[in-house]
């Protein structure tokens, strides 16, 4: 699914391959400053490849990975009918404000639609303002669930 085939430097959005994991690890480290290679290899094992309900998409220009998104169709947890969940979306800071995040989001939504679901969902820390603003800008609003938690230390 090439994003802009007519431009001289087209960005391609496609399913991740094992060769992409090294750049995924590097991009995540660049953003979070917390290297976790084992985690990303396990994420690729779970979400990589071709599956009907699990999606790991990357955006690349030539051989450079500019961003990625991971999502899955999940059903009946918390009493919810099947819905697409976006677990993470990450864009190289140098490639931000170019619409690439929106393109990855749209590509993931297409995967979810093809899988037969009509709702996309994500969960964010309350203070993750940048990410929340991004998802809001895509049209996402508060859903019908509220996350509750408790400190077990008391």
């Amino acid at each position: 699914m090439p994003r802009s085939a007519s431009s001289p430097n087209p960005v391609t959005i496609r399913p991740a391959t094992l060769d992409d994991v090294r750049q995924v690890i590097a991009l995540d480290n660049k953003i979070t400053h917390a290297p976790k290679p084992d985690y990303w290899h396990s994420m690729f094992e779970r979400y990589g490849g071709v599956a009907a309900d699990r999606f790991f998409l990357v955006a690349t220009r030539h051989k450079d990975l500019l961003g990625f998104v991971i999502g899955e169709v999940r059903a009946w947890e918390f009493g919810s009918p099947p819905a697409g969940w976006i677990f993470i979306i990450a864009i190289d800071p140098k490639a931000r404000l170019s619409g690439l995040g929106s393109d990855l989001f749209d590509a993931m939504c297409s995967c979810f639609r093809n899988a037969g679901v009509r709702t996309v969902r994500t969960m964010l820390a309350r203070d993750a303002q940048l990410m929340m603003s991004f998802f809001r800008s895509q049209g996402m609003m508060a859903g019908q669930f509220i996350e509750l938690e408790m400190d077990l230390g008391e």
């Binding site: 309350r126 203070d127 303002q129 929340m132 603003s133 809001r136 800008s137 049209g139 508060a142």
Partner: protein
């Protein structure tokens, strides 16, 4: 949740002006569209001008125009000019706060206020304009 009158006028004026950032619009024209007091709106626009969100131009064709970045400016920043939102807003102590009952009530109210604050800070003026466009499209405007 209900916004104070000045806050509501400010948000409406910002949205109106941001929809066409190159256009100057008079306070009375904005007031007429939203059926609000032009005098009150004029005061609100002066406040927004002092904060750098709008610019005023005098003379024929004058009025106000949007002067901020719609992709960066969020609702909490506009609202925060006129009223405090969120549990860190420095509320005055109230009767009963020192009791366990008062503390429990304050905890619940702070949860609500923090959620409101997170919601408002995550919605930019640009996102609001998209929502308005969708509503207009649905209504055939």
């Amino acid at each position: 949740m209900k916004l104070q009158m000045a806050t509501r006028h400010a948000v409406l004026a910002v949205l109106e002006l941001a929809a066409q950032p190159d256009r100057h619009m008079s306070a009375s024209d904005i007031a007429e569209k939203y059926a609000i007091s032009p005098n009150h709106l004029a005061k609100v626009l002066r406040t927004l001008g002092r904060e750098g969100l709008v610019e005023a131009a005098r003379g024929v064709g004058g009025g106000y125009r949007f002067a901020a970045n719609a992709r960066r400016l969020n609702l909490l920043e506009v609202i925060g000019i006129f009223e405090a939102i969120g549990s860190k807003a420095g509320r005055d102590r109230e009767a009963g706060d020192d009791t366990a009952e008062g503390a429990a009530l304050r905890t619940v109210l702070e949860e609500i206020e923090d959620t409101a604050s997170a919601t408002l800070s995550s919605i930019t003026i640009s996102t609001m304009l998209k929502m308005i466009e969708k509503t207009n499209a649905r209504n055939g405007v």
